[in-house]
């Protein structure tokens, strides 16, 4: 059965371009003629704070917030924040994760991402798909760490989890990203797509 509303949670750390990514996804859904809700959930800090954006689209979107266990996709730009918010994923849902950790400066606690993902998988009794992308590494190679968000968008597009065409993602990028940075974002999108096509599934 086709769901009435598609739910995507974006998480990461303030400054990683998550709000921009939310805008792009929202525009892409709008281009396809859906009703859209993009909700930004952030606190006081401009940089370095925990950040979550809820993107919903479908025929009619009511609540702008996604209920727990209702997200089809969780797009994590940072490891700790992705794990922190995976309670939004539905059983059978898909976590697309940037292999990248930003430690909070206030804590000396270190984490093991592999171990955490194993624990998540077993909490979901195996009923969860996880794709890992070296988005920040790819972005850095492109000379602009800020385009990790577009790498992730490319991966999301290639995985075909949502009823949005690649063309719409690209058109949305064009609408949201300033002209000066559009080229590198397109490049990032392409590399994100290829990363998934080569298979990064765990």
């Amino acid at each position: 059965m086709k769901p009435r509303v598609f739910n995507v949670v974006l998480t990461g750390v303030g400054g990683q371009g998550i709000i921009t990514l939310g805008k792009v996804l929202g525009e892409a859904a709008l281009i396809e003629g859906f009703d859209v809700g993009v909700s930004e959930i952030h606190g006081m800090a401009q940089r370095g704070g925990s950040l979550m954006v809820h993107v919903r689209f479908g025929e009619t979107v009511y609540s702008p917030l996604i209920p727990k266990f209702k997200a089809h996709v969780l797009l994590g730009l940072e490891g700790i924040e992705a794990v922190r918010h995976c309670g939004y994923l539905m059983p059978g849902g898909c976590l697309i994760l940037n292999n990248y950790i930003i430690y909070p400066s206030t804590s000396h606690l270190k984490v093991d991402l592999n171990d955490l993902l194993d624990k998540i998988t077993s909490a979901f009794k195996g009923n969860i798909k996880i794709y890992r992308v070296n988005a920040s590494e790819i972005a850095l190679k492109l000379g602009n760490v800020n385009v990790a968000n577009s790498v992730m968008l490319g991966s999301l597009s290639a995985l075909n989890l949502l009823p949005l065409k690649e063309k719409s993602y690209l058109k949305a990028l064009e609408k949201v990203i300033p002209k000066k940075f559009l080229g590198v974002n397109f490049e990032a999108f392409k590399l994100g797509k290829e990363a998934v096509e080569r298979g990064y599934k765990v």
Partner: protein
């Protein structure tokens, strides 16, 4: 630029932008505000297009002034909007109540952006009560589309009833993007009106006020009837439902989602209320007479609930805050669970409960990520310098803080915040504590907050002589809300140059004798100047004022990027470093961390402020030669 796109198009707009567009479609001439989350983008987005269409927009010194400027526009026959965060209306409450009595001429919409959950506020007060208290009608939209359409309509309502209107939003509405179909727009504005003398109306002498109160009550009675036909109220009812649900604002959307998910939409009558004060009594009476039980779903306080209870027939059971929390923000889970319980439905399947337990455990093992000052933030340097200057006396010092990024000085390792209650209160509290205790008292206040409500208490400190050190953390811009200019910045919302009002000159004119400024990026000099000021206060028992002046780092870096100037990046010389941990544990810049027993600086995060290099006791932190050291540069 979607704010000026032509009518008929469907665009994605932030809730706040939708309000701005609605005001433009209603042909406003004036918008004024003091920035405050979650309301800021309303007037900010208007400012960004103002010069193109000849709209007048200003950042006012505070919400009271912003409301007075907007009211003056209305008196001149020009439509005006003012927007503020919920606590801003406390500051503007004085003119607000008087405007309730006097009414308006041209349409006036006052936006109150409430913040359930205190996402970025000191409380989650429910400003619908301000409507009840002042006699100004209150409206709650539910979607970005409604935010636009209702804002536009409220200007007509305002003129029809000669009353200001209060548009109550919540954080979630303000910060949700949604599809909005645009209406038509004129691309020029009327900027000059005329003020017709009518002192019996605009001079609130007791005799005039008494007469105006009578008129106000009459207006409210008329509005009550008008609200029965208010187009954004909606009823879904077959007539055979036992249960009714009344919901407003964003809570309405949660209610619909809950009723759908629980599969009980057909079993309830649904009333969506948009005109929440005065409540449309005829409409409500009709609704209440056909159901026997009602659930009220609304965000924060039981405003609708209490008013509905007051008019409901005694045999109708009204539930609201007994099943839904009065505290915090609602969400679809909370609303679903509350309603599910009443209907004896299990909301969450057993398997999900087990998964949730497992996830909670993993979550608890994760490092927390509290909000932090940005890398290079001058406030961090100032906090560190104050503690260095105080030395062991830090423990016997009371720090009266204020509202801004610097409130994060509360957190370890800085811990230089003993009080923070509201805008400007740092100086007021310090004034009292300086009188009533023998401790060293330091007031910490930002530049924008100083102009907002810091000046009257500073006068009080001088007038009633309290031995207090006031340190103004001047980052030259209203930083926390996204770098809006203020009276000390040197330009206006419309990017017109304006005189830079210097905080030290204000202090000087008040007769404060010890006034000094320092650059927090220059560590040693800053410590010396803070010590000098502390000594002055201790010896003379008189107030002193310091200005710690340095551009907000993000603001400065943005200016540099525009000029293609790159900034320096620092690194740690592992040979020289003695691992004293001063930079990691006491200075605590997010760019500095430990890795395998070494101190490392993240090149992507370092802003090149150079302060860590100055505090390192063995000079182990060195520039990499990538650009300008911020501590060696003036502003750009």
């Amino acid at each position: 630029m979607s704010l000026l796109e032509e009518g008929g198009k469907a665009v994605l707009l932030l809730g706040n932008e939708a309000v701005a567009r609605g005001a433009l479609e209603a042909d406003i001439s004036v918008a004024s505000a003091y920035p405050g989350t979650p309301s800021t983008e309303i007037v900010e987005s208007l400012a960004s297009i103002a010069n193109r269409i000849g709209l007048y927009v200003e950042w006012s010194t505070n919400e009271k002034v912003a409301l007075e400027v907007a009211f003056a526009a209305s008196l001149s026959g020009l439509r005006a909007l003012t927007a503020m965060k919920h606590v801003g209306l406390n500051v503007a409450a004085d003119p607000f109540f008087s405007i309730g009595y006097a009414g308006v001429k041209a349409g006036l919409v006052i936006v109150s952006a409430d913040d359930p959950q205190c996402h970025s506020s000191q409380n989650e007060q429910d400003n619908r009560f301000y409507g009840l208290a002042s006699g100004i009608p209150v409206y709650e939209p539910s979607t970005p589309q409604e935010m636009k359409d209702m804002t536009a309509l409220l200007f007509n309502v305002s003129e029809k009833f000669e009353t200001a209107t209060l548009l109550r939003l919540t954080t979630r509405l303000c910060h949700t993007r949604g599809k909005v179909v645009l209406g038509d727009l004129r691309l020029e504005r009327r900027l000059k009106g005329s003020f017709n003398r009518d002192p019996e109306r605009w001079v609130l002498l007791p005799m005039n006020a008494r007469r105006l109160k009578e008129k106000l009550l009459q207006k409210l009675a008329e509005l009550k009837e008008f609200h029965t036909k208010f187009p954004f109220n909606r009823v879904k009812m077959d007539g055979d439902e036992d249960w009714g649900v009344i919901a407003s604002g964003n809570a309405y959307r949660y209610a619909v989602e809950a009723l759908q998910n629980l599969g009980i939409m057909d079993r309830v009558a649904l009333l969506k209320l948009a005109s929440v004060y005065p409540l449309p009594s005829t409409l409500l009476s009709r609704f209440l007479s056909s159901v026997s039980k009602v659930i009220v779903v609304e965000e924060v306080d039981p405003f609708i609930e209490l008013n509905v209870k007051a008019i409901a027939p005694p045999d109708v059971e009204i539930l609201g805050k007994d099943i839904l929390p009065r505290k915090g923000e609602l969400n679809p889970d909370i609303v679903s669970e509350g309603i599910a319980k009443i209907f004896g439905i299990k909301y969450r399947r057993e398997v999900l409960v087990t998964i949730e337990k497992g996830i909670k455990e993993i979550e608890n093992s994760l490092p927390k990520r509290p909000p932090v000052l940005c890398p290079g933030c001058p406030h961090r340097a100032t906090f560190y310098e104050i503690k260095m200057a105080l030395g062991p006396k830090t423990k016997k010092t009371i720090f009266c803080g204020d509202i801004g990024c610097y409130t994060l000085g509360y957190y370890p390792p800085y811990q230089v915040m003993d009080t923070t209650i509201c805008m400007g209160a740092s100086i007021g509290l310090a004034c009292g504590l300086g009188r009533f205790t023998d401790d060293v008292i330091i007031a910490l206040i930002g530049d924008s907050t100083f102009f907002h409500t810091g000046i009257p208490p500073l006068i009080n400190i001088v007038y009633n002589n309290s031995p207090v050190l006031v340190i103004v953390l001047d980052n030259t811009v209203t930083a926390m809300t996204g770098h809006q200019p203020h009276p000390g910045t040197g330009f206006t919302a419309l990017l017109q140059p304006s005189p830079k009002i210097l905080i030290e000159k204000v202090a000087e004119s008040l007769g404060i004798e010890h006034i000094d400024t320092f650059d927090p990026y220059r560590f040693r000099e800053a410590v010396v100047r803070i010590r000098k000021a502390l000594n002055y206060v201790r010896e003379k028992r008189r107030p002193a004022l310091l200005v710690a002046r340095r551009d907000c780092t993000l603001y400065l870096l943005r200016k540099m990027r525009k000029q293609n100037i790159s900034h320096e990046v620092f690194q740690v010389d592992g040979e020289k470093c003695i691992r004293c941990m001063l930079c990691v544990e006491k200075f605590a810049c997010p760019a500095i961390s430990t890795k395998d027993n070494n101190i490392v600086i993240d090149a992507g995060l370092c802003t090149g402020c150079g302060v860590c290099a100055q505090i390192c006791p063995v000079e182990a932190i060195k520039p990499m030669g990538r650009g300008v050291r911020l501590d060696e540069a003036e502003s750009f």
